[in-house]
Symmetry: C2
Amino acid sequence: MSFNKVVIFGVGLIGGSFALALKKAGAVAQVVGVDRIHDSLLRAKELGIIDQAATSIADAVQGADLVLIAAPVAQTPAILASIKPHLQPGTIVTDAGSTKSDVVAAAREVLGDLVAQFVPAHPIAGRETNGPDAALVDLYAGKKAVITALKENSAEDVARVATAWRLCGAIIHHLTPAEHDQVFAAVSHLPHLLAYALVDDIARKPHADRLFQYAASGFRDFTRIAGSSPEMWRDISLANRDAMLLELDAYTAKLAVLREHLAASEGPAIEAIYANAQRARHSWISAIEAAEKQNKEGGD
Amino acid sequence: MSFNKVVIFGVGLIGGSFALALKKAGAVAQVVGVDRIHDSLLRAKELGIIDQAATSIADAVQGADLVLIAAPVAQTPAILASIKPHLQPGTIVTDAGSTKSDVVAAAREVLGDLVAQFVPAHPIAGRETNGPDAALVDLYAGKKAVITALKENSAEDVARVATAWRLCGAIIHHLTPAEHDQVFAAVSHLPHLLAYALVDDIARKPHADRLFQYAASGFRDFTRIAGSSPEMWRDISLANRDAMLLELDAYTAKLAVLREHLAASEGPAIEAIYANAQRARHSWISAIEAAEKQNKEGGD
């Protein structure tokens, strides 16, 4: 048994899938759930995600090997503060937040010297649905889990967190918090903002009904991420504000260039940008598919 | 037999799928193909898309009931000019171009009084692959085909074109060319430009490799349309330039508003935009799914 007692703060999609995967791997004796929504705890117990709903934070954290914070990222400081008075030396705390610099800053402030026991991480997986019912035992299978270890962390604690995610089927990557936030601002956070902006723009036009009537599969895929939780993405946007502003400004500058080419009917310049994008995306998809093939062949 | 002789200019995805569907419906006696790429004609014949490769435009158009122009939209004027000297009174010409105002203007200029025989249309279906091998017999099943009839067209000719697309499984809609172009600038042409712009932006960054390494399924869906043909989308962008500039400017203004909210960390304002987009998209998806269900239940 890898873990005796695991505590999950937030028993929804992310925390619930983590618990289900550890249980399926036979890697945990007991999972205790904490959630601000009482019905979610009841449902998580019904679904076999948790063995027990916590009666208090003190009881929950008492004797735990591992605490996973899988609540909306803005709640992380308050959760860390609630854990701190009960945190014993043998317990590792980790999180699953989509941003890392803000979480690390909050953890340092709240935990002080105990920050050594906090190993920040981010599993790169999700769905558009939330709550315990959205949890999937294989949500993390073949997906990346990024650990942004702190200099205060012991190598052993970092390895324990990596083991937990590997047991869920994830592939471990290491980045600094700043690297992490810069990367995900570009490939995840900005695209979410762009998709939300497009749907909001169209929905507010007087002829919105006609526009949606003719929107087809390309629009559906382009805007899929605009189906995500507004609360969660508001928090991510605020938490990773500086990196997102840099990416948004670079993107807006690119749009300004394209607008100039379009206004001047400069076909070759427009085609050059479109063709470079198509080539880059094609190389990326080919690389993903090769990696997926290798993972399957190299799997257990 | 609905059609005795159908001529397809461009025997790739769009034209090839049209021919396959008409043949499957037993609605055409003979399909003749014209293509600037000789190998495409040979391949289309091998695949049973066409019965015969045209030896000349004159021979091809001679005695045709219906001519479909399914080549890149920039080639439409030249194709119309090549057809005109051979166009007989009983022949209807239609097209499958993604833009309509420019095609109609070109048709009026090239065809003169014969424009009455040209019924412009646009089937709303596609894939990221091109050429005869990409053609699918059911590409149009359940999809919309928009006819942007001209005041010069006879009701009978418009009905014949509608019949052809219905035989392919499509659902017929009617818009004016200007309405069509405004709608598709918003829900298709602009999203393509935005997706191309994002991938190009990322691909040109010094740390592009790392960024692509961490891009996941959300990025993949958001950028799927950036895998489309750069030549085709350059032509569409130029052909529908004015409507696209209007949509791009509205979108850029929306991004500027979001940027201000983000820079000022205005969480409620950001969430309001995200939530409105999520709601609108959810209603749209629900409406699509209800319509799909109805089509299935009402179908044969």
